[in-house]
């Protein structure tokens, strides 16, 4: 039974490849259909190969404007959530204060709460405060739900940090600021980076909370949703593919840098 033996030996690899395919197939479809030239308004059936959409990615009215708003919100939400979240994480790990336990559990609430509920209650809050819905309300909402993720990521890192490292820095003539910049921050950096990346991704593709609190502002996910009712331009696939490529490039570069660093050390 040579086939059974072969199967036994390679089962793990086969299962792995199947899982990868399962994960990546949607991305492949998005990419393939970015080269489609649909006949009607919907890009659901393959017609013929074309690079028209890639040559003119902003050819659809309002799409690039919404993309720009989404990117701006994602960047600012990332900055805001990362700074606040890092400070909260340090406070929770390093200091004993009243209500620390309560804060520790409450910080997870936004992750557990159904998004639609949070979206609706946020809208109620904004309306009661008389806030003008738009860019700022979206940004406030995004920072709010990204915070939990940053706190979780940074907290794990700070908790595993040896407190003696900071004492060693102070012992070696580093003042409080130097200690933070030269020792604490670099060691916490991987956690902070993970939190920031998560924030960016979460903010960029959030639809539900944004949709409730956007007023007349249209973000990219909202644009895609809106166009799905009327007809989907191929450019949406182009943007999707481009985002995917940027992410892959990002991973490849960071892997390359780590490898280079490791081989230099050896």
């Amino acid at each position: 039974m040579p086939f059974v033996t072969w199967l036994k030996r390679h089962l793990v690899v086969i299962a792995g490849l199947c899982t990868l395919a399962y994960l990546l197939l949607p991305n492949v479809i998005v990419t393939v259909f970015s080269f489609n030239k649909p006949k009607g308004r919907f890009n659901y059936e393959w017609q013929q190969f074309s690079t028209d959409a890639w040559k003119d990615p902003c050819g659809v009215a309002d799409m690039c404007g919404s993309l720009s708003i989404s990117l701006q919100i994602a960047v600012w939400a990332t900055v805001g959530a990362t700074i606040l979240g890092t400070m909260i994480a340090f406070a929770l790990v390093r200091y004993r204060f009243r209500a620390r336990g309560a804060v520790n559990s409450l910080i997870f609430l936004p992750m557990a709460m159904p998004e639609v509920v949070m979206a609706a209650s946020l809208l109620t809050l904004f309306l009661n405060m008389g806030a003008q819905l738009g860019f700022w309300t979206i940004l406030i909402a995004h920072i709010m739900f990204c915070l939990s993720f940053v706190v979780t990521a940074v907290k794990a890192r700070v908790m595993s940090m040896d407190p003696r490292l900071e004492e060693a820095a102070r012992d070696l003539y580093a003042g409080p600021v130097q200690t933070f910049v030269r020792v604490t921050l670099p060691i916490a950096a991987p956690g902070i980076a993970a939190g920031a990346l998560l924030s960016f991704a979460l903010s960029f593709d959030d639809f539900i909370i944004t949709n409730f609190n956007a007023g007349s502002t249209v973000t990219f996910p909202m644009f895609v949703w809106g166009s799905a009712q009327r007809g989907t331009p191929v450019q949406i696939n182009v943007i999707g593919t481009a985002m995917f490529l940027v992410a892959v490039l990002f991973v490849l570069v960071s892997m390359l840098v780590t490898n280079r660093r490791n081989s230099q050390k050896a």
Binding site: R164, E167, A169, R170, D171, K265
Partner: protein, 384 residues
Amino acid sequence: MTTTDSSGDVRLTGIGKTYGSFTAVHPLDLTVPQGSFFALLGASGCGKTTTLRMIAGLEEPTSGTVYLGDQEVTHLPPYKRPVNTVFQSYALFPHLDIFENVAFGLRRRGIKSVKKQVEEMLELVQLGEQARKKPHQLSGGQQQRVAVARALINHPKVLLLDEPLGALDLKLRRQMQLELKRIQTEVGITFIHVTHDQEEAMTMADTVAVMNAGRVEQLGAPTDLYENPQTTFVANFLGTSNLIEAEVDTKNGGDIVLKAGGDKLVLPESRCAAPTKTGGKVLVGIRPEKIALTHADDAGSIPEGRNRITGKIADASFIGVSTQYVIDTPVCDEFAVYVQNVERDGRLVPGADVVLHWSPAHTFGLDAAQDIDAGVETVEEEAA
């Protein structure tokens, strides 16, 4: 390398530390002469590390002052003190390579050209080849040497070592003890070494302070502490001691004659740390290796003038260089005796009647008001 110049002495006066209602260190006075290798010895939780951290500035004392030479540093933050620490966990910066770890202190003080100094320091600890590696790529012993180099490169007035060899295995530990001693002699800097290992303290240090429950029990050269302990804790914590409760009978010149059971024991008055008045109680101590064993049949051959006690061998363990006996005696039921295996007497087996005898000059006297077992359990705990 000990100098008589006292401008670099570490002086602690009335220094103490309390956490809430718990007293970690009772106010204590301590002077560490410049250039000496000083050890703070004690079981875990005795306050030795807290004392060290107060010298480093990592812990604020509740009372008292810390002087480095003529400078009072009690309230200076650690980064303003000319003192460096080697931490128990080494605390090497994981994101920096060995070179940058060692250069850290120099760079923080704004010194630009560090290359030559760092390379020299890495040579001193024999790690020149490893400069570009990260700490996690080195072995425990190498990491330990980096930690020493990182502290020493700053030419501190005092180097503080907090159980620096605790994480190493026994063989490496012996090697590093000699290595640290060599470095200390070479650089001539004052070392203050915290350890719970009495052998380590005695091997390395010129002066040892034995700490117990936040107090210094006794301070002195290793031989003084061992040969003439002043408290039961020191007697039991440093090596093993046989302690016998005895009553003062008469005083005869410089000697005290004591009664223990039916036997008479002689103790030089100068070796007695307790007040002695006729009829009062004293603890008589003797180290196991100072005692000779003679079979009861040969009791007549024992020279006059030696302290003697009769007993029966309860147990004998042969451990190569010596044989360790446990003797059942009327005055103490577990008398420890170590006999070098030079000429072995085949009759000395469990059950044999023997006479234990030793020179009065090796006897020491302690205050009987103390706990006779102080320091005993602690040693067993550390060994476990």
